[in-house]
Symmetry: C2
Subunit: 337 residues, 2 copies
């Protein structure tokens, strides 16, 4: 089946599972509390709809991996809901930590309900992520449910470690590339590795191949982030006359920037003068290109993509079972240019 046809069947099932978890675990006596969660998940309030819900890539990855591992994807739905709730809990807290008033074009939870309620709404969703996993006891086995808890907990530890680094980086001028990998490893890749591993767990895949599934998701996450860093400087929106949207203006410490800081004294001088202005973007991009930052970034993304696909080949027992996952990988790692 094509990825698109799979998504048409899987995504509504994910949404239904998410609704069921949220409704089961939120006291109906307090509709306002449930409302904050439903708003953040894109179900209710101003701007609700598919755009506000995001792409649900993570639950999709769980279900496709369960299927690729030879399992019945429906049995993995509790895990799919768990990872999406965990991802969204982290977004609610992220928005407070970054002081971001908007997410996907809508007011953030803290902007609407204030910081204290938003911290608490995040804590509720954090709990619901774990609560979701219990239904694996019915669809698979109690031991799978416990192991899923362990995997999700380990992932949260990595996620919060990445978040710690990300917040610390804001006040550090210099940053070795090593710390960059730890940061995106925790913030982005750990959860994608977890998704793939949970899918495999639900399919009853044995330990060695389950580790390959994890590696596939983890490398996919790294590749995705590095490519995203490239797009933030050389992507359509950044290049074609919209320098304001360039990551160089927001001051984000991305791979090409850190590479440039370590290789180009001229770029470092420009960057460290404090906050690039829109009129500096063209010069900064040209300095990054001269020291090879753009090319090296794309090269890293390519390497990581190959690493992910190699792990996927080792993970699945029959190659054709990985078709949809390869299609998903390709669609996530398009240069969009």
């Amino acid at each position: 089946m094509s990825l698109a046809s799979q998504m048409q069947i899987m995504l509504p099932a994910v949404e239904e599972e998410l609704h069921s978890v949220v409704d089961r675990t939120t006291n109906s006596v307090y509709p306002e509390l449930r409302g904050m969660l439903a708003y953040h998940l894109g179900w209710e309030g101003a701007g609700a709809g598919p755009e506000a819900q995001g792409k649900r890539i993570r639950p999709l990855l769980v279900l496709l991996c369960a299927q690729a591992g030879g399992g019945e994807w429906r049995n993995a739905l509790p895990a799919a809901a768990g990872v999406e709730l965990l991802h969204n809990f982290s977004l609610i807290h992220d928005d407070i930590q970054d002081n971001s008033p908007l997410r996907r074009g809508r007011d953030t939870v803290w902007k609407l309900w204030g910081v204290p309620q938003a911290i608490n709404a995040g804590d509720v969703m954090f709990t619901q992520a774990f609560r979701a996993l219990h239904c694996l006891g019915q669809t698979i086995s109690a031991s799978a449910a416990l192991e899923a808890h362990r995997i999700l907990e380990e992932t949260c530890l990595k996620l919060t470690e990445g978040q710690y680094l990300d917040i610390s980086f804001e006040t550090r001028r210099l940053l070795p590339l090593e710390d960059y990998w730890s940061m995106i490893g925790g913030k982005t890749s750990a959860l994608l590795g977890c998704c793939a591993e949970l899918g495999a767990l639900c399919a009853g895949v044995e330990d060695e191949r389950r580790a390959r599934f994890h590696e596939f998701g983890y490398s996919l996450g790294l590749a995705f982030q590095v490519l995203d860093d490239w797009l933030g400087i050389w992507g359509d929106a950044s290049v074609i006359g919209k320098s304001t949207e360039s990551d160089l203006v927001s001051g984000k410490k991305t791979f090409p920037v850190l590479y440039g800081l370590s290789r180009s004294p001229e770029f470092a001088q420009l960057w460290e003068a404090g906050g690039l202005k829109v009129e500096d973007v063209a010069q900064a991009v040209s300095l990054l290109e001269s020291c090879g930052a753009g090319a090296v970034t794309l090269e890293r993304a390519e390497e990581l993509t190959h690493k992910a696909l190699r792990a996927l080949d080792q993970a699945v027992a029959e190659p054709q079972k990985a078709d949809e996952l390869k299609e998903l990988t390709a669609s996530l790692l398009k240069r969009k240019k």
Copy 2:
């Protein structure tokens, strides 16, 4: 054995278990992150020591209930660590939500490391609370570990519900007593009920008696909070010349205040004029006494104490096994006056 002798054996074991969980789950590459947790737990930094660590009542309750239920208390140590970490996660987030610069006389985590890192440190400790439970798989059984997760998750849902109410109350002028019970039920009692239930679970107590253990902890929590409300107005510190420490000045919506608002129009008028001043305290106390708020508060605390002790009697198989728990109950529910 007396409670004091029990505590001398149990509390160091709790501290050791807490250290082991925190050290096992915090990456040693980032000592600053571990430092925030160790600081909050009272192990490190300015003012570290027993005073800063708090009384560890919750883990003690887990261990004493495990013993009263006929189990080996050491097997319940992972659950004891779990509840203490959950309690402390909620304190870290609470301090941000309440904008409190001090806890137990020391700077709060957000005051020292800023709000973004403090939110994240709370999230780390939340994860560690669940991570702690996994060792029950070794001391008891995998199914007990999974059930412990379920119980702790249900407790978090109640806790965050109570927190939602508490934050909402700040902007509501009128508050029915019913909402007061829901709020303290979630914020204080749910976790104490959880402690007693987890202890019983670790002792292998059957469902019906386990529910009585839960009821014991839950009612104990309510009694404790109601008495604390009374002490906040009529306790030593509040009465003997230190009106500044009265709950009436901080504007807290406690049981006697809500009772007074519903029964004494004069008290309501004084209260709703906005923020009682130190010089109003004597008059407010006298109005509360006239409408019976003080007496009714003590009466409720007595009733709840009896309810807790009745549940405890039904929970334990042999009465003498409850001796230490009765001693703990008495020490928690002293009027201190």
